[in-house]
Amino acid sequence: MSEIYSPSSENDISNFIRESHEQATPIEIIGQNTRPIGRLIQCSKTLQLKNLNGIIEYFPEELYIKVKAATSLGLVEAELDKRDQELAFEPADLGFLYNGKSNKGSVGGAVSCNLSGSRRFKSGALRDHILGFQGVNGKGEIVKSGGTVVKNVTGYDVSKLIAGSYGTLVALTEIVLKVQPKNEESQTLLINNINLKKALNIFSKAMQTSVEISGACFYPEKSLNFFKLNDLDISTSITALRIEGPKISVIERVNTLKKLFDEYKKTMSVLENYQSRIFWKNTTDLEFFNNTESVVIKIILPSVNTGQFINQFENEELRYVVDWAGNLTWIAIPQNDSVLLRQLRKAALALNGHMTIIKAPNHVRIREDFLTTVDDNIRVLSLKIKESFDPKKILNPGKMYSGI
């Protein structure tokens, strides 16, 4: 049983890590412990950051919020909402995926995983919205980078490196995130009953226009039962395009798209503001996989390769959803089908993409690689970077790759 330490100050964290560094004791770092993600690791000590919470400062007109690392993401979003602002990368509420109920976890956890929602292809990933951080490295030193301003080239952009590093470089203590005004209006153009190939064509065609869609996803037939929206026809596949902005512009742009995709007008409909927002929240939050027992994986491919990828597995009856205008595919497969899991990984690699395991039972997390990286040079460099922060490899050792 791991010994849990829950300090309430940065200095206590620094002392704790310094001591662990001296003794070369591995530490597992957890925030609110809501995302069992990454390789399964066992450490004799656990550093729980949950006491490090609270908003340090929020200046809406400066478009940033600075928080302690374990501050609840839900709290941050509620605070931003009061000023009609939001996090443009649409952080997912993965509570549904892991436990069947809402739990957004901490800001630090979100940063560590760099997971972004449906707007990612337009507004960037979480890593594009982190302006600065402070944290404790594997020697117990308090280090910082970045600041609170958007335009900043002072020194290396270490914040980007920290985003998606799964707690293997620093224990985060403070985070500065860029915030954006909320869109006044959201509408979703829906096309029912077309296949993936046609959907991908629609995404591509829409992206070639100046309509600036901010969501583009495809749900195959029989995958939509979880939606509880009056105006959504869930009897067939759904291809959805989101348009956001000032209302007048949204209406115009929806009309442009309707004309552009006139050939599908018989099965076309529009979700208005309220339902449109729920549709994309459900999609970003992966409610399709609500509390599933399956292994859930994330596949990133150049969008033109996604059709070919899915075709290779048409006999497998995959449960999947395509998001990010074809760049992202979420797939659920049975727990014990490691052959299929490996086939999917291999196929993604062959099409210049990669696969990441997002949810899996412990025995799979032990047996299978979490990430796909096969390039030896990247592995060597990643190890050196790890050691530059954490020479004794005590922070979440092995969480990303074995040995790093």
């Binding site: 200046f59 280090v143 290396y156 952009d157 980007k160 985003a163 100046s210 115009e252 990669h354």
Partner: protein
């Protein structure tokens, strides 16, 4: 002023002839330049107050050659300074006496335009503007637009994480690059990212973007391209007080509007630029604010109306909305010649580049005025108000002996005040050698050591662009600034703003 650079390795210099001979094995011998006349053009970048001739210049033609040359230099302990178009303002490409200067000028081809994936694959020596030119026939463009875009290279943009006037809405280079081919100092050829939207593992692409040529050499770049907005319009606003323009900027953003560009100029700069460009700016105001909005036609009209209301609330005494693209470009014409305009009213000037929280603009400008009186030097200010990036232009005369030093001290004081106000030392020009010795204003020893450790992970022997960005002795001294004499800017024709 004296700038401490890494110690010259005399053994390397003694070996120069052999090294030049060896280098000729890796590339066409005509790509190696070592005679005095040939290397002189490479002795400085756009921070032309500082000059140093390199030991030799190498202009490789492909990635294999870059890799072989770096590997050789790494083994022989020879310093290497990479260089793109040499338009950098912070001295990032300043050679060292015992270095091989690695010029990427021959990497000048666009390799692939992929409209379906909305990206362009290019060699790093291609200019920023050439990328947009290559895709504009289909109404696409590459978003980051640093003012030197007609000359600066995309590889240099990645080294500096270049911005531009539209970075508030469209981000800087780091938000628009998808992948690179990257050669480490030991010759290892790597790929970070590519045509796919994101990669897994450590964000190496994010880390190397803006690393000022210290971590590796970019040999291929994939950038994303965007569809041009349907409609673009601008407002030209005048205010009796700088404070009012600052408040107007804050209110626009608080009002939920993210303009494509927002620029403030103070009175001295309004006069200088209007005299120089005949842009038609109001002369009876203390500050002008240009606000550019883009989107669909009706969206832009709605936003213009909102900004108009906010401007009136903030006591704008001058208000003009562009009727067509010509007029919009005329609004910008003065702003875009800010640097040469100042060059025309002063023998010399230094260009500073701090970023501050937007709301601190009036306070920082007040301090700059105080410092201007203290040092007895004139100053004009332009401000990328949207993202808080301030460019004070300090005017002086280098023929008066003490003035350069005074101007540099003045500049250092401004940057220190930017940091004190919650801002940073550099928004887009980079640290280079210029602000290197001010790094301790923002970072403590542990922060800097962490960054040096990262450097070591990429370049164990610290041979790639040493002496840049990080203070050699961990001390806070005043650094030099971009110095332009008699407007003898190295690339006079490139707009700077």
């Amino acid at each position: 002023m004296t700038l401490v650079m890494p110690q010259v390795d005399q053994l390397i210099l003694d070996d120069k002839e052999k090294i030049v001979r060896d280098l000729k094995k890796f590339t066409n011998p005509i790509n190696i330049i070592s005679d005095l006349e040939g290397i002189t053009p490479y002795e400085t970048d756009a921070l032309s107050a500082y000059k140093q001739k390199p030991m030799a210049v190498v202009l490789p033609e492909n990635t294999r050659e870059v890799s072989d040359i770096l590997k050789y230099c790494n083994e022989k302990n020879i310093k290497v300074v990479p260089r793109g178009a040499g338009t950098g303002l912070s001295g990032g490409a300043l050679p060292l006496a015992d270095c091989v200067l690695l010029g990427l000028g021959k990497f000048n081809k666009i390799l692939e335009i992929d409209f379906e994936n909305r990206c362009v694959v290019t060699q790093p020596g291609v200019t920023n503007l050439a990328l947009t030119k290559a895709v504009e026939h289909k109404d696409f463009y590459y978003a980051p637009d640093p003012s030197s875009q007609i000359a600066c290279s995309i590889g240099g943009n990645i080294a500096e994480n270049s911005g531009g006037v539209h970075s508030l809405k469209y981000g800087t280079t780091t938000n628009n690059v998808l992948g690179v081919e990257f050669v480490l100092m030991d010759g290892t050829i790597m790929r970070f990212g590519g045509k796919k939207i994101e990669s897994e593992g450590y964000d190496l692409l994010g880390l190397i973007t803006g690393s000022e040529g210290l971590l590796g050499v970019v040999t291929e770049v994939t950038v994303k391209i965007l569809k041009k907005p349907q409609s673009i319009k601008a407002l030209l606003l005048g205010f009796q007080k700088v404070e009012e323009s600052g408040q107007c900027v804050s209110d626009i953003i608080s009002g939920g509007i993210i303009p494509a560009g927002m620029e403030v100029m103070d009175k001295p700069l309004i006069k200088a630029t209007d005299d120089y460009s005949k842009a038609g700016y109001p002369r009876d105001v203390d500050a002008i604010l240009i606000v550019e909005l883009d989107g669909t036609e009706s969206e832009v009209n709605v936003l213009i109306k909102k900004v108009e209301e906010i401007a009136k609330k903030n006591k704008a005494t001058y208000l003009r909305i562009s009727k067509n693209d010509d007029e919009r470009l005329r609004f910008w014409s003065g702003r875009k010649v800010a640097f040469p305009a100042v060059g025309s009213i002063s023998p010399d000037y230094l260009c500073m580049d701090g970023t501050i929280p937007r709301k601190k603009l009036p306070e920082v400008l007040k301090e700059i005025t105080r410092l201007s009186n203290k040092y007895g030097l004139r100053v004009a200010n332009c401000f990328h108000a949207g993202d808080g990036n301030l460019h004070p232009l300090i005017m002086f005369d280098s023929n008066i002996r003490s003035e350069l030093k005074k101007a540099e001290q003045f500049g250092a004081d401004i940057l220190k005040y930017c940091v004190k106000s919650g801002g940073v030392l550099t928004g887009e020009h980079g640290v280079g050698i210029e602000k290197r010795d001010l790094m301790c204003e923002m970072f403590n020893d542990e922060d800097i050591q962490q960054q040096l450790n990262i450097k070591e992970a990429f370049d164990k022997n610290s041979l790639l662009n040493p002496g840049k960005v990080y203070p050699l002795l961990h001390r806070c001294a005043e650094g030099g600034k971009m110095h332009v004499h008699k407007d003898n800017n190295k690339f006079k024709d490139i707009p700077r703003f």
